[in-house]
């Protein structure tokens, strides 16, 4: 019937306003993707680029965070992995049935963001003290 009358599908992604709940959920998925790609690239570089004796300089180049691109990259990977870890813990609690009402979800959202900020400050505390 739908094909016969050539009915359109009402717009969905483009019009539905991003809620806090769906934002956190999609960031959980995106952070998982980024972390998996990071881990795979890590192991691939270890196996294919760092196995010779002369790869010392390459190793230093990739893992020294005194260089700005490496520093920024590590900064963001750290934020992303903290977010994924905390949201993953929340998903485990959800699967057990806890904290599933609207107010607790909104409280937990602010708690997660605040905890990420605190953990970042703790990891980079040598720049603040």
């Amino acid at each position: 019937m739908n094909k016969f009358f050539n009915r359109p599908i009402a717009p969905h992604l483009t019009i539905y306003s991003l809620q806090q709940s769906s934002l956190f959920s999609i960031w959980h998925r995106i952070s998982a993707l980024i972390l998996i790609i990071y881990i795979i690239i890590y192991f691939i570089t270890q196996k294919f680029f760092f196995w010779t004796l002369s790869s010392q300089t390459l190793h230093v180049f990739f893992y020294s965070i005194t260089l700005l691109p490496n520093y920024l990259f590590n900064f963001f990977i750290l934020i992303i992995s903290f977010y994924h870890m905390l949201n993953g813990l929340r998903h485990i609690l959800w699967d057990l049935g806890f904290f599933l009402s609207n107010e607790t979800i909104q409280n937990a959202n602010t708690i997660i963001l605040f905890t990420i900020l605190v953990l970042q400050i703790v990891c980079y505390k040598k720049y603040f003290i």
């Binding site: 306003s17 809620q19 709940s21 959920s25 599933l100």
Partner: protein
């Protein structure tokens, strides 16, 4: 005059009428199967002082005074029938429960997301209803009693939060998982009703109901995105019910 597909509106919307102050503009998604192939937007001015408080009142006034081809479902005007469910300013709610007097000047109204459109704001809910039928939403009890079998108050309290669902399809339409798998995934509204029958102590077919739901596509497409509980116009929590069903399946 009303039914042209205009991409540019050559009307100055902000002129002041000396009798009525049109302070709200409703942007409504329109599609007519017998006219054009593409949907379009129609903008209608509304004077708040001349119109009832809810968005459904504005829609009815537009249909009466401005454009009688505007098509939408409505019945009870008090938020109990679930007919007027549509997407208002980005969230799915009932039009009869949403106030017209809000901060924004432009109110954008779409039909329910990712549902086939029959006309204007009317969505095709036949898939939704057939999914409701598939969970067998009736009491199945093969025990016969010689006298009344009263349900205790505690057992009746378990149904609170599940029986009030009016099947408006707002939550299922807001679930991205239902958008991508609407043919196989049952959706939060139906799963909330399935939970209502599972947790009813008068019904003793719980095992068969759980076996039916224990399916990769029917229940476990839910990834606890929790858009459903955010958008429910009656304040119910389908996400929690789905989580409890999963818990019941995995612990039985």
């Amino acid at each position: 005059m009303f039914l042209q597909n205009r991409s540019q509106l050559n009307v100055n919307l902000f002129t002041t009428n000396s009798y009525l102050n049109h302070d709200k503009f409703l942007r409504i998604y329109r599609w007519n199967p017998s006219l054009t192939n593409q949907p379009w937007f129609a903008i209608y001015p509304i004077a708040t002082e001349n119109c009832g408080p809810m968005i459904l009142d504005a829609l009815i006034q537009i249909k009466e005074l401005q454009d009688s081809t505007l098509t939408f479902r409505r019945s009870c005007r008090e938020g109990i029938c679930g007919s007027c469910s549509m997407n208002i300013n980005g969230t799915n709610t009932l039009a009869c429960l949403n106030l017209l007097n809000r901060l924004e000047k432009f109110i954008t109204i779409y039909p329910l997301p990712h549902m086939h459109v029959i006309k204007d704001l009317v969505s095709d809910l036949s898939n939704f209803y057939s999914q409701y039928k598939s969970i067998k939403p009736w009491l199945k009890s093969n025990v016969s009693f010689s006298e009344e079998n009263l349900q205790s108050k505690a057992s009746r309290l378990e149904l609170d939060g599940a029986y009030e669902c009016i099947l408006c399809a707002c939550c299922s339409s807001s679930c991205p998982s239902y958008w991508w798998n609407h043919d196989k995934y049952l959706g939060p509204a139906i799963l909330l009703q399935a939970y209502r029958w599972i947790v009813d102590t008068r019904d003793n077919n719980t095992d068969k109901r759980l076996i039916f739901l224990n399916n990769k596509m029917r229940l476990f497409r839910c990834h606890t995105i929790m858009n459903c509980s955010r958008t429910c116009p009656k304040g119910l929590n389908p996400g929690k019910a789905i989580s409890l069903i999963k818990h019941k399946i995995l612990s039985s």
